[in-house]
């Protein structure tokens, strides 16, 4: 009897569900939305990362170990026999690897794409078959090389299944594509044996690859198979000892961590936001349960008198919370999976973030993660139910039975210290350094700030309303509204918690995105001073030759052409590659802070981007070594520039120095200043006509205005998920306000009945409710915006630098904030009136008699 008897529990629960299906439904939905968001983000992330990892593994062919050139220009091929002869190395497979593309590449905001990118590999099939058997071609006649069709037969190409699908090419068809700036046409001999489903790659003979792609004497990597029982560490050390400056050992784990590092910050941030959404759901459950408990106090009192113990009561409320949680969790997991499916299908695995180009995401249903997120939702629901349950159990039943137990005592001052403690703890954590390179503590700090803000609401509401309450009002409805709000701040804060939490989150996100967008916009203006820009996609292995460059510069209307050679360079194994940009002069980069003076003798001056400085610890004035052109080149860090385009770092060095060191005279990007009066469109057409036919499909022209527009479009798209999260948070908040109000209004029906009996008109009551609602909305909006600005500061000044390694200037979207406040006030007042109309429709007499 101390616990709740099962039959009684069932009856009471069923009764409650019948009594308030909408209220219960909304609590379930709140949990479901939180769980769904968290689960969806997790699913999308793991799908994207999984497919990206598999695609990477496919391109690598699952070798035990690989030696990679740090730059796409490759390393000297003579490393291959040296590696092959090392003790512990069972087999070595030399590989030429270049980026390639077919058809017309996609341009953001331009015509639909008719082509795509892929990785073109040149292998020696006789070596690859021992090291990376997945990269062996398979024709209808059998395996290549040792079978009826040798892989080094000229003029043929083997496609991965995904590439064959994407191109629609069958065996025997001719595949026309561009690689290393050269047009190629090879006959499709068949598909690769086991290259996975995700990777777009093609394999040709290594000799042909070197010859056709201008890679004579160069290898991008050597895949290694270790001898059975070989000491991996010792072998790796032996390998590292023979490597030239422009090569490094890449382990499969290192490649996996590189894939992980590529999108880690993005994923973790989205995941954290989803958890915050779940937290908001928790507030809503708390709010819904609190109100439901307050409303049912007399019922609980009756049950207590009839023989339901306090523990039994708590148990019943927790079972209610549990059912809410289970329903919410199940619904959330289903919803989350559907959401993720939709997102992956429409936006791709990186949700438009652009991290996983060239990999097809595939959604799975990980039972463990589903359980985990479901459990999280359940825990949130239980936690949200526990507090009201305990408070309900504390009320003496005799008091509650008399209808006096709703805890409203106008003389009691709500304590401020719990909120203040939470706020200061949150602030402390928000300022903490990153954990595992991620702003985890800052996120926990944000959650605490949120909780603190909500906990502070009663005291805050009271403090804000104190002057009004003292003054009173001669307008009866206003006076009644103010006294109610002032006298029952706890009740108000229950209604407010959801709205404050969601408003704060939304404001934080809005301010962060606005700041980011403003900074990006400013930055775009700064980095795009020329009139016309040319960029070659997928041209790392070789762009436009000097002869073509001269022809471009000579196009009428071009006053000046600044050339750029962009490629990636790996500085550390397991870290994403850094962009190396050889520019004709250091114009047009927005420097941060001071720049150093003249470089010391023998040093090449370089500018590094902000993420580069953050990730590798380089500082202005540092002397460093950079492995370009096969040897270490001493460089001098002359300055740090702001860069939002390359999250993993970028280095700018003078084009002349680059050409001197590497002998590479090609270029991949160019900026053109036009002669006065020249028509940009005409010049662009003339330039395009001068491009060699092979690279026309890869060439993208841009004018600053259009590029800015496209860049901001991409920016907005990659933040689309964030906007969606925001909208959902607001929706949750408003739903919370609506349910709180209607529940509270229903709970106060007796009060309204009494007021009508003493002569207050129905209309006056509605005005009173509207004013109460507006007051609550105002307090909630004010508190939410204040809290949100605090959270925004954490996002802008702590989370972003810690995750993405760039800084931005705070920008406040005032119109948005004002509109938000107005919307909240209007919505709160409107909801209150709607709920009031319903409550008052029944008539005052019934309200007084009905007791509850």
């Amino acid at each position: 009897m101390t616990m709740l008897a099962p039959v009684a529990a069932r009856w009471l629960l069923a009764g409650e569900w019948r009594a308030g299906p909408l209220r219960m439904g909304i609590a379930v939905l709140a949990i479901a939305v939180g769980v769904a968001l968290g689960f969806a983000v997790h699913l999308v992330n793991s799908a994207a990362l999984g497919s990206f990892g598999r695609a990477m593994a496919s391109v690598q062919g699952r070798a035990d170990l690989a030696v990679r050139a740090t730059m796409p220009t490759g390393m000297d091929e003579l490393i291959y026999p040296r590696l092959a002869r090392l003790p512990g190395v069972a087999a070595a497979s030399p590989v030429v690897e270049v980026a390639a593309s077919w058809g017309q590449l996609a341009r953001p905001g331009a015509a639909p794409r008719t082509g795509g990118r892929f990785t073109l590999l040149g292998t020696d099939v006789l070596r690859a078959m021992h090291v990376t058997p997945g990269l062996i071609g398979f024709s209808p006649g059998g395996l290549s090389g040792v079978g009826t069709r040798p892989g080094w037969q000229e003029g043929i190409i083997w496609l991965s299944p995904e590439l064959a699908r994407a191109t629609g090419l069958k065996v025997g068809a001719t595949f026309r594509f561009t690689a290393a700036g050269r047009p190629l046409a090879l006959r499709v001999a068949g598909q690769l044996a086991a290259s996975g489903d995700e990777a777009r790659l093609a394999v040709i003979d290594i000799a042909e690859a070197q010859d056709l792609l201008g890679q004579i004497g160069r290898l991008q990597r050597v895949d290694l198979k270790l001898a059975e029982g070989a000491d991996v560490a010792a072998t790796t050390a032996r390998i590292a000892a023979v490597l030239p400056a422009d090569a490094m050992v890449a382990t499969p784990e290192g490649e996996a961590s590189r894939a992980d590092a590529l999108s880690r910050a993005y994923r973790v941030n989205l995941g954290m936001l989803a958890l915050v959404a779940l937290l908001t759901g928790g507030f809503l459950v708390w709010s819904a349960q609190s109100l439901s408990v307050a409303r049912r106090r007399p019922q609980f009192a009756l049950l207590a008198v009839l023989g339901l113990s306090r523990r039994g009561l708590v148990t019943q409320l927790l079972i209610e919370g549990l059912l809410l949680g289970v329903a919410g969790a199940v619904l959330g997991v289903v919803l989350g999976h559907a959401l993720a499916d939709l997102a992956v299908r429409n936006f791709g695995g990186d949700l438009g973030g652009g991290y996983f180009a060239g990999a097809q995401a595939r959604l799975a249903f990980p039972a463990l993660a589903a359980l985990g997120f479901g459990a999280l939702g359940l825990a949130t629901a239980l936690a949200g139910s526990l507090v009201p349950a305990l408070s309900a159990a504390r009320v003496p039943p005799a008091l509650a039975l008399k209808g006096l137990g709703d805890g409203v005592d106008p003389t009691r001052r709500p304590p401020a210290w719990p909120g203040l403690v939470l706020l200061s703890a949150g602030t402390g954590l928000a300022l903490a350094p990153p954990l595992f390179g991620l702003p985890i503590l800052a996120y926990i700090g944000m959650a605490l700030l949120l909780a603190g803000g909500v906990a502070l609401m009663p005291a805050l509401a009271r403090a804000l309303l104190a002057p009004l309450a003292q003054a009173g009002s001669r307008y009866l409805p206003l006076d009644l509204a103010i006294r109610r709000l002032w006298g029952a701040p706890q009740a108000a804060s229950v209604a407010l918690s959801g709205i404050v939490a969601s408003t704060a989150l939304m404001v934080a996100m809005a301010v962060m995105v606005a700041s980011f967008r403003q900074s990006v916009d400013d930055w775009l203006v700064a980095v795009l001073p020329s009139d016309l820009y040319l960029h070659l996609e997928a041209a790392e292995a070789g762009g436009i030759t000097p002869a073509d460059q001269a022809r471009l510069a000579a196009v009428p209307g071009v006053a000046a052409a600044r050339l750029q050679r962009v490629m990636s360079i790996r500085l550390q194994p397991g870290q994403p590659a850094v962009a190396l940009m050889a520019q004709g002069g250091f114009a047009a980069v927005p420097l941060i802070g001071h720049s150093a003076g003249a470089p010391p003798a023998g040093h090449v001056p370089v500018l590094i981007s902000e993420p580069m400085a953050w990730l590798y610890g380089w500082q202005v004035g540092d002397r460093r070594q950079l492995a370009i052109g096969g040897r270490q080149t001493p460089v001098f860090v002359a300055g740090v520039w702001r860069d939002y385009a390359r999250q993993f770092g970028a280095i700018i060095l003078p084009l002349a120095d680059y050409r001197r060191i590497t002998g590479d005279l090609s270029m991949t990007d160019a900026a053109f200043d036009l002669a006065p009066g020249a028509d940009a469109k005409a010049v662009q057409a003339a330039l395009a006509a001068q491009l060699p036919p092979a690279v026309r499909g890869q060439a993208q022209f841009g004018r600053p205005g259009e590029m800015r527009r496209v860049a901001l479009q991409i920016f907005d798209r990659s933040f689309a998920v964030t906007y969606a999260l925001e909208a959902i948070a607001i929706l949750i908040g408003l739903v919370g306000v609506a349910t709180s109000f209607s529940a509270q209004v229903l709970a106060r029906m007796r009060e309204f009945g009494m007021l009508r009996h003493v002569g207050v008109q129905k209309r006056q009551l509605l005005v009173m409710l509207a004013l109460e609602g507006a007051g609550l909305g105002l307090v909630g909006a004010a508190a939410g915006i204040a809290l949100g600005l605090g959270l925004a500061l954490v996002l802008v000044d702590i989370v972003n630098p810690q995750s993405f390694h760039w800084t931005m200037d705070l920008a406040l979207p005032w119109p948005l904030l004002a509109g938000l406040a107005a919307a909240l006030v209007a919505c709160a007042a409107g909801t209150a009136v709607v709920a009031g109309r319903r409550a008052l429709g029944a008539g005052p007499v019934l309200a007084v008699r009905a007791d509850w």
């Binding site: 091929e77 030399p94 006789l126 040792v146 042909e208 004497g217």
Partner: protein
């Protein structure tokens, strides 16, 4: 001829500019020990019997160390170091009755980068850690690793080479173009180590190079190379058609004094016998053939007995054929028997 095995699997390359096998080209040594890269294919095929272990534990073990060179033509304009036309394939096997079946291993690589090559001018063919070469003292050396057992052997010639066929022009079919340059080097004394233990024995080197071999009607062949106890050497082969009859046959006999007789097709009569069914592949092999040959107008008959029945080799996973290559004995001699085309026709 024989031992086209893996080469058979290589493609018919149209419009290939290969050297043609012609009669009247004299053998020159040591140049002909070395590679002939203009021809489509060639091989160095060492087979032999060694005595493994000592005292009562001593037993006879068969060994094969074979290197193939295949030319895959490509555009001469390709400047890549990888643009080699020569592929080196090597195969080694140990027939140990204690094991009951063959231990074997392979190596394959395109020549170049010092990792694989076949020297022109003298014998030196290598692929990765395997090598077969001739030292200035006239001895041959072979180093291979088979399933963890390292074979490090020296082969000391005791007799001159047998120039097969018509001065080294060995016809393999009814058409004069179906032929190879062919010499054999029997009665080589083996000394060296197997898995670190000293071994001795007798070996046979077969050398052939050609660009066109097989008659279109041929489905396979049988080959025997036997070192005779009296110091002589017997070579026998035939090409079979789908009905199992000989399309062509040949061989040679050299006695202890060095007197050599070359067999014409009508001088060899090969009768399949002693069928053994492989439990792995299901193929049936005539591992105890009876072969008659006519020398000096007298028919001789020899009965062949394998060291063990299971000396089947399956290279189908790598695109090669299923064949039988094993150590055999006859009364008064021992050597190696090769059987091909019994499970499915060999095709070029």
């Amino acid at each position: 001829m024989r031992r086209l095995l893996l080469l058979l699997a290589l493609p018919l390359l149209l419009a290939a500019d290969f050297a043609v096998v012609r009669p009247g080209v004299p053998m020159r040594f040591p140049a002909d020990h070395g590679a002939h890269p203009a021809f489509r294919t060639e091989w160095w095929y060492v087979t032999g019997w060694v005595k493994s272990g000592v005292g009562t534990g001593a037993r006879d073990v068969g060994i094969q160390i074979t290197f193939f060179r295949t030319r895959v033509p490509r555009l001469a304009t390709n400047r890549s170091r990888f643009a080699s036309e020569q592929v080196i394939f090597a195969h080694a096997a140990i027939a140990d009755p204690a094991t009951g079946k063959l231990k074997h291993a392979t190596r394959i690589a395109r020549s170049g980068f010092g990792l694989a090559q076949a020297l022109v001018g003298d014998l030196d063919v290598a692929v990765d850690d395997w090598r077969l070469w001739r030292t200035p003292d006239g001895r041959l050396h072979g180093v291979v690793v088979v399933e963890g057992q390292r074979l490090d052997l020296a082969f000391t010639p005791s007799v001159p080479v047998i120039v097969q066929g018509l001065g080294g022009y060995s016809q393999k079919g009814p058409s004069a173009s179906e032929a190879s340059h062919y010499y054999s080097w029997p009665q080589m004394k083996i000394s060296g180590t197997m898995a670190g233990k000293p071994v001795t024995g007798t070996a046979w080197l077969d050398r052939e190079w050609s660009s066109t071999l097989l008659n279109p009607r041929a489905v396979g062949w049988d080959w025997l190379g036997l070192n005779l106890d009296n110091g002589g050497a017997l070579t026998l082969f035939r090409m079979r058609d789908a009905s199992g009859r000989a399309l062509w046959a040949g061989g040679s006999h050299r006695d202890a004094t060095g007197k050599t007789v070359i067999f014409q097709p009508q001088d060899v009569d090969w009768q399949a016998a002693g069928w053994w069914k492989s439990p792995r592949s299901g193929a049936r092999w005539p591992v105890r053939p009876v072969v008659r040959y006519r020398m000096n107008n007298r028919w001789q008959s020899i009965e062949i007995k394998p060291l063990m029945p299971d000396q089947e080799l399956d290279s189908r996973a790598g695109g090669g054929p299923l064949y039988w290559e094993g150590a055999v004995t006859m009364k008064g001699g021992r050597g190696y028997l090769e059987l091909t085309g019994y499970s499915a026709p060999l095709r070029m």
